[in-house]
Amino acid sequence: MLKKTAIEKISQLAAVLMEKGTLLAPVKEVAGHNFAEINDPQKVDLNFYNTIISPKGAFFPPKEDFIKYKIGKTITEAEQIKVDSKPVFLFGVRPCDVKSFSIMDIHFNAAGIIDPYWSQRRKATTIFGYAYDLNQPVDAADFYNSLGIYAADPEGSDIFMVKKDKDLLLKGITPKGEELLAQLNTLVDAGKDDEKYYEETLKKGKEYKTRFLCIDQDVIAKKLEAVFNNNDFWTKVSSACLSCGACTFVCPNCYCFDICDDTIFGKGTRRRVWDACMFTDFTLEASGHNPRTQVYQRLRQKINHKYSYHVKKYGVISCVGCGRCTRSCPVNIDIYSIVEEALKL
């Protein structure tokens, strides 16, 4: 089923979705766009390239409260915090980011490792994928083609959206998506030419080229393993790195977290917060020993984890080439260039 709406009237669609559940969509902020919970349907803004921070927060929020507790003299009271299972609509996700969810599922939603918070949210969420605008230039930092992902790839979305001039075309991909689409009464049926445009866009998406590293993931994984001890190389490529958390916090595929008890006057919350392998204290042990004291060790870990260990263990690279880490790095460290250089060694 293909439906459409004028982009101008997107707030009407937003309002309908807000009646049905929680709407997460791109909004414009000072520094650019980010996904946010929509309270005012006028705020939804599809005039963006990609968001600064990835949409992973929809399933893996920067802060997740588990337990509220009160420490008493004799007994400690504790109460578990449940995830709200209201339907969620994640609206306007680029194909590379949609792909990232399935890679993250390996860690939060696979046999043996079901994270209840991630999996409940995944179940409750309908994903509206959104093709890149093929009439706009590709950003120099992107390289999702290398990972076999294309600009107008509907895979993984429940509903896939394509921009056609002033209109938005919406196609049901999964049964969940089809069902929802049929209920959205602000949409109208698309015509024959729209059908054609939609199909052509999917095809043309393959011609919309990002930077391209000929990636045979096993070759890369082996190469990175082989150069692990080449300290000169790692020192050189990390000499500018500040060892901050910007790259991992914006990344759709970074999933490290820290569990902490934030307590004040005997009352507190046990929660998890995003953590980053680039932080100095990430590997600090209780004894005081820190196996990764140097910046190069941390950057090497970040890259090897994504491109080597992850491939060996799970058979897939833990990066979708969205370019966010490069765009947000205060010193322009580019993960793509580092992998490329390693391959030349």
Partner: protein, 287 residues
């Protein structure tokens, strides 16, 4: 207008000379990035590395940030624009580095740009000075005849807000913070290891990216930089969500200057203003 190409040439020439003669073992400068608009901080360690050096209007980085990474006594040459030279001076005052181990390659420049917005970086987000305060070699013509703008002019609008509005302004800003710590990591004066925010015993603030932890992190950091921030603007530029940290730093710097009549990072003879007791110092801070 600044001749960026000329400066790049001179920078390469000096780097080559210093490395060849063994006068220094590392030259902290700027290198090629993945495209021209995205150069990177670069440490040249051999003559062969010199080819990679570039200088253009996007080389904003304050290279003084990297000085404390090298063991004491390492002979280092460092490219410094105006604010960067002030960071070096401040670090010398704080005894983190010694002048005798450094060669300062001064870069007078006007027209540096923020690559995200392509706006010229001036006194709004930085100290707005054009000529390095301290240098051993000058790599270009000094900039003169520019209208002098106070780095504190940008505060006017903000100072006009009443107390509640100002507090609300900062609460809204801090709510945006994702606690990636790029700001402290980009800052040449944030060299503490461990930083108070990473400590567990005692734990000074919540880890979660929300108030009150965010407020605690930023207010403490602002005050740890009182009289030390040299207004290079790197913290704000590093922030992925564009929190205007420079406003707070400038406000603190302005108050400090008014109270103690000393500007940070202007002379290696000065003592850091908050660790130096002078009988004539203002008591306003105690009021």
């Amino acid at each position: 207008m600044t001749d960026f190409k000329k400066i790049e040439e001179n920078l390469k020439k000096e780097a080559k000379r210093l490395l060849e003669s063994g006068e220094v073992t590392v030259v902290l400068a700027y290198g090629k990035g993945f495209d021209e608009k995205h150069p990177m901080p670069f440490a040249a360690k051999s003559v062969a590395d010199v080819d990679n050096i570039v200088f253009n209007e996007y080389c904003n980085y304050n290279m003084a940030r990297y000085l404390v990474r090298y063991p004491q006594g390492t002979k280092i040459a460092i490219a410094v624009k105006a604010a960067d030279s002030r960071a070096v001076i401040q670090l010398i005052q704080e005894e983190k580095i010694k002048k005798e181990n450094l060669v300062l390659l001064g870069i007078p420049v006007i027209g540096m740009k923020n690559p995200k917005t392509d706006e010229v970086i001036d006194s709004k987000t930085t100290c707005g000075m054009h000529n390095p305060v301290l240098y051993d070699v000058l790599l270009g013509e000094e900039v003169h005849g520019q209208k002098i703008v106070s780095p504190y002019d940008v505060l006017a609008e903000y100072e006009a807000m009443d107390k509640d509005a100002r507090w609300q302004f900062w609460k809204d800003q801090f709510d945006k913070c994702i606690r990636c710590y790029a700001c402290r990591k980009a800052c040449p004066m944030c060299y503490c290891d461990p930083c108070f925010i990473d400590q567990n015993k005692p734990k000074w603030a919540d880890k979660a990216p929300q108030s009150p932890g965010n407020i605690m992190y930023h207010l403490t950091r602002f005050h740890h930089l009182a009289g030390r921030c040299i207004d290079c603007g790197e913290c704000s530029r590093a922030c992925p969500v564009d929190i205007p940290l420079y406003l707070f730093h400038k406000k603190v710097a302005k108050e400090c200057e008014e109270m103690f009549n000393q500007v940070s990072g202007m002379s290696i003879e000065d003592k850091p203003v908050l660790v130096n007791f002078r009988v004539e110092d203002s008591d306003k801070i105690l009021e």
